[in-house]
């Protein structure tokens, strides 16, 4: 049984059929890139995995545990955080500095955990303080890993797009998700800033992170991925190792897509 199993995901927005049955499997430590023209369901697929959209049909299991559809009565329990998400527009919290952006979710998680224990009063405050200090250390390490040790106290408005996206990556790593998703992480960046973000993603691959990347950076996808998923019209048109997809695409749609992007490049 594969680590992540996505079975027959269907998603309609009213009359529009965005995903018409998407299935794939991936193992821990693998990196998949999802390619395809805009409007073919790439982003919607990621959003279904992250519960930002609720799929109409289908099943998702991670590590043998079914996370979608949720078991009865557990639907309201919030995101299980099996997946992390990095958005196209970063979506950092503007009122918090880089460090606070990363610690926020960790601190809330610590609060929930400590509230669930019977300890009260001074003891609870002491344990919270300890947890916050621990979270801050973790956040500092994460920010250092994305090369922002000098920008921890800066607010998002004081950072470049590339720096903001790197904070967003550190924030997504904070809860150590099993699978990290990227939704066109460099599409909102100036060309000279994409390199620093791609470098961080590559570094994460070398550390053995399981990642699904929706991107338009064909070259990057080729270099970083174990498998390429090519999507067209809401289904996986073709899927395979980069060299197979890029050099020997079987489907006509895939061939056309790469022929077009080659002309552009």
């Amino acid at each position: 049984m594969a680590f992540l199993e996505v079975k027959n995901i269907v998603k309609n927005f009213g009359e529009t059929k965005v995903l018409r049955g998407v299935s794939f499997e991936m193992e821990q430590g693998e990196v998949f890139s999802v390619l395809g023209s805009s409007g073919n369901g790439k982003t919607t697929l990621l959003r279904c995995l992250n519960f930002l959209e609720t799929a109409d049909e289908g099943e998702i299991t991670v590590g043998g545990k079914r996370i979608f559809p949720p078991e009865k009565g557990k639907a309201k329990e919030g995101n299980p955080c099996t997946f992390g998400m990095v958005f196209q527009n970063f979506n950092l919290f503007p009122q918090y500095n880089a460090l606070q952006n990363v610690t926020l979710a960790m601190n809330i998680k610590s609060q929930n955990e400590i509230k669930a224990t019977p300890c009260k009063g001074a003891e609870r405050r002491r344990r919270l303080k300890e947890a916050y200090a621990q979270n801050e250390e973790t956040a500092k390490e994460l920010l250092a890993r994305v090369g922002l040790e000098n920008k921890m106290k800066n607010y998002p408005c004081e950072l470049s797009g590339g720096q903001q996206q790197r904070v967003a990556i550190a924030r997504a790593l904070a809860l150590s998700p099993d699978i990290l998703c990227f939704d066109e992480p460099t599409s909102a960046l100036d060309p000279e800033l994409t390199g620093e973000v791609l470098k961080v993603i590559k570094q994460l691959r070398d550390e053995g992170r399981t990642m699904i990347i929706v991107t338009h950076e064909i070259e990057f996808a080729k270099n970083v991925s174990d498998k390429i998923i090519f999507m067209a019209d809401g289904v996986i048109e073709e899927m395979g190792a980069p060299e197979d997809i890029f050099e020997h695409a079987k489907s006509e749609k895939t061939q056309n897509f790469f022929a077009k992007t080659e002309v552009e490049q």
Binding site: F51, G78, N89, N91, P94, Q95, A105
Partner: protein, 228 residues
């Protein structure tokens, strides 16, 4: 400067009521307005419509009419004479009148505030909610930890406007005989047959609003440590 001291004492007493009405209205209408805003954005349609109609009626009619309506309601609709209500509430008649005025003010200002809140909440990009959600925050946590402070910052300028209007609206309390600042000035004008109490009252209002403007400006500056 005839009777200056007496006039000043009377005005100060009236000013006390003005400040009290201002503070009570602000303290109650700020949270109530947020509840109203949630109501008017609710997915539960009957609640949403009820709030929309309430806001339409309250904003569409004079505050003075609303004050009069509140004061007559117990007597005319529930057949409870004001005197009886006053003793039931353990209040003097004057305090009961003040209570009626405060109720009308709180509802009226909550409606105006709710529209400001709603505008603020609706300008927060959906990406902020989504980022919170994928980090495992519940809806309440997303609102309290991420959205609310951004809303406060955005709505502070229109809120300041409304708060300054509230200072001046308090003078409507005199319709039920509450001795607010302006009413006290009017009494002094009649009593001493001079116009200066009006001037003094104006100075009171100006200083109060001046201080408020400084305070709100300071808060606004404190909150603009980041750009959106």
């Amino acid at each position: 400067m005839e009777h200056f001291q007496e006039i000043l004492m009377e005005l100060c007493e009236g000013f006390g009521n003005t400040v009290l009405l201002f503070a009570v209205t602000l303290l109650c209408a700020l949270p109530l307005g947020l509840l109203f805003a949630f109501g008017s954005m609710s997915k539960f349609k009957p609640l949403q419509w009820f709030m929309k109609v309430l806001i339409w009626v309250i904003r569409g009619t004079p505050l003075m009419l609303q004050i009069l309506l509140v004061s007559f309601l117990p007597q005319y609709v529930f057949q409870v004479p004001t005197k009886q209500l006053a003793s039931a509430l353990n209040l003097s008649i004057n305090a009961t009148m003040f209570f009626f005025v405060a109720v009308a003010f709180v509802i009226n200002y909550a409606c105006y505030f709710s529209e400001i809140y709603r505008a603020g909440i609706e300008t927060i990009p959906v990406g902020q909610y989504e980022a919170g959600k994928v980090l495992g925050l519940t809806k309440n946590q997303v609102f309290t930890k991420i959205v609310f402070m951004q809303v406060v910052r955005r709505i502070l300028p229109p809120m300041s406007n409304e708060i300054i209007t509230l200072v001046k609206d308090t003078s409507l309390a005199q319709i039920l005989g509450v001795i607010d600042l302006l009413n006290a000035a009017k009494h002094a004008v009649n009593e001493y047959v001079i116009l200066t109490p009006f001037l003094y009252a104006a100075i009171f209002y100006l200083i109060f609003n001046g201080l408020l403007t400084l305070l709100l400006g300071w808060v606004e500056k404190k909150l603009s440590y980041y750009k959106v």
